[in-house]
Symmetry: C2
Subunit: 332 residues, 2 copies
């Protein structure tokens, strides 16, 4: 058994999302709490902008819960930047115990998993989980300088400019993180860094299949099944392969990377990606629907591609990972 | 209170260390399990060598405990490489749930902290914790290509080529991880990337002071107090500042970065550093002494500098962090 059941399921008491202009212009624009039209957030480098988004996301989620930074005991944070500096500098001002985590674009779910396990065990009563990505810091780190204006293939995805944070609490009226299933790194030999969806889909398939098998449930038992940023390519691979294994994902499965942009009109090719993608979509629209009881039983599996520009240049294929969180409005 | 007490303290049932030639030539050479004279470990890039060291360290620690990979339920791993690929590719072959963590050079202690909290809560029975660094992968990423032969200032430290792993188990006869104190990021304005000791010492001081205050203990209550890689500069800063606060660290305090090399003869300037430094020293000499009951009560605080080459270029100062683990041979 690799599902971790949380006998004392922590509650997601608030969440906040901070995004750039492109994300604000997308279908979920008004669901986000804060946006900045020039995506700098008042900073003089994109890297500092990313840290600032994390700080704003944590502070806004605290404010929504009528809490101050002194009410949380620990911060779990991650991002895509080299040495995870988006998180380190973002967390610095809170002066709280800090666990840095790295699961590429799966980091938000990894953070929710670790944090809910820690709260479920009674080590902490309240904590923050925050992750981020920034199109401009990611482009120059992973691909080309923005000014270069490189063309992208249709399977590529756009790194979301955004940070999402949630506050977890042992007290609270739900929604509850009832159980989690940590992901297993899966490498199916994909080595095209412009097709992350294909690299990550096998990990999501592995996680979902293990989850349905261990729980003896099927996709129709959930209100929504959500992946992080598989995009069009990965979403379609996942639906097809899960279908051949007897799991019908056609009814209630969506992907944050497809929800955050209008893929037809926003020139984002296969959709959104990045640590900020699933973090902002989850901590805005999804959390609102959970809090309004429009959703009551959700599987959320953020997906990550565990590569680096160097590993790609060295001819390595791309391992994917998908950490799964099961959220219910009813405490089990 | 920020100490996390583990009511069911997990046992460190085995450990293994894999190092390069320079580390093998140092004072702890014969304490390490595996070394490679050309530090490649049979791989064609330094980055792959680092992943291979992680794989070897986990497999060797499993073998020492007479376990196979199927006996562990989860792996906690981290390293210094961009996007933590040393760990991702190292863990891939084990096909186990995987939590990627990042705390710079504090990652081994962060991994021990998270893992022991997870085991202490009963989520898992057995797990592996592994971290690594490689002089050659780190040099070209953080500083200059090796071939450049750049000069270093006296306060600089040499990144250790090594990976250390331990197997934690809920069963076992000790040594036990009794409690942990997660670190708080501390930034005292140091911006010299060649003086990591000075950047990290304040975080270690913060952690130790909180720990002694909360436990109402003093340095003399422990057999050994060990930091990760403060080196000569950080070690001396820590001793001096702790002294002014009334804590005498002169008797039983040492630093893995000072232990792994002969700083006088091995041309390593201020000592060793890197995720592999504290991991290899802890999982070799320290663990052996704990298992032989030559040490029975140890505070181990690995220290990390949460910067990146980009954050330094952008003029940011360097936040440090120090996660503390308290290990006893007697179960509390």
């Amino acid at each position: 058994m690799s599902i971790i059941k949380l006998s004392h399921a922590p509650s997601i008491i608030s969440g906040a999302s901070v995004v750039g202009k492109k994300e604000y212009d997308g279908p979920l624009g008004t669901d986000f709490d804060i946006h900045d039209n020039d995506s700098t957030f008042g900073m003089d480098t994109w890297e500092k902008s990313e840290s600032e988004m994390q700080r704003l996301a944590v502070n806004t989620s605290l404010a929504k819960a009528k809490l101050s930074p002194s009410d949380i005991e620990v911060i779990f944070a991650g991002d895509l930047m080299n040495q995870c500096t988006g998180s380190a500098y973002g967390a610095l001002g809170f002066a709280k115990p800090y666990f840095g985590i790295y699961g590429a674009c799966s980091t938000f779910a990894e953070g929710l998993a670790i944090a809910s396990m820690m709260l479920g065990a009674g080590y902490y009563k309240k904590c923050a989980v925050v992750t981020s990505s920034h199109f401009c810091s990611a482009e120059r780190q992973f691909r080309f300088p923005i000014e270069y204006g490189g063309q992208r293939p249709p399977t590529s995805q756009r790194t979301v400019t955004g940070a999402g944070a949630v506050i977890l609490s042992l007290d609270g009226a739900g929604p509850f993180i009832c159980d989690v299933m940590p992901g297993i790194p899966i490498d199916m030999g994909i080595s095209d860094a412009n097709n992350m969806g294909a690299a990550m889909a096998p990990a999501a398939i592995n996680t979902f299949k293990r989850y349905f098998d261990e729980t003896n449930t099927s996709p129709s038992d959930y209100d929504l099944i959500l992946t992080g940023d598989l995009g069009m390519e990965g979403h379609s691979i996942l639906c097809e392969i899960m279908g051949t294994k007897g799991y019908d994902m056609s009814k209630n499965y969506n992907d944050c990377g497809l929800m955050i942009y209008n893929c037809k009109t926003q020139d984002v090719h296969s959709g959104g990606s990045g640590c900020g993608c699933s973090a902002t979509v989850f901590s805005s629209l999804i959390l609102k629907k959970l809090l309004r009881h429009e959703l009551n039983n959700v599987l959320f599996a953020a997906t990550g591609a565990l590569m680096s520009p160097d590993s790609i240049k060295q001819g390595m294929s791309i391992p994917g990972i998908a950490h799964l969180i099961h959220i219910k409005n009813e405490r089990i």
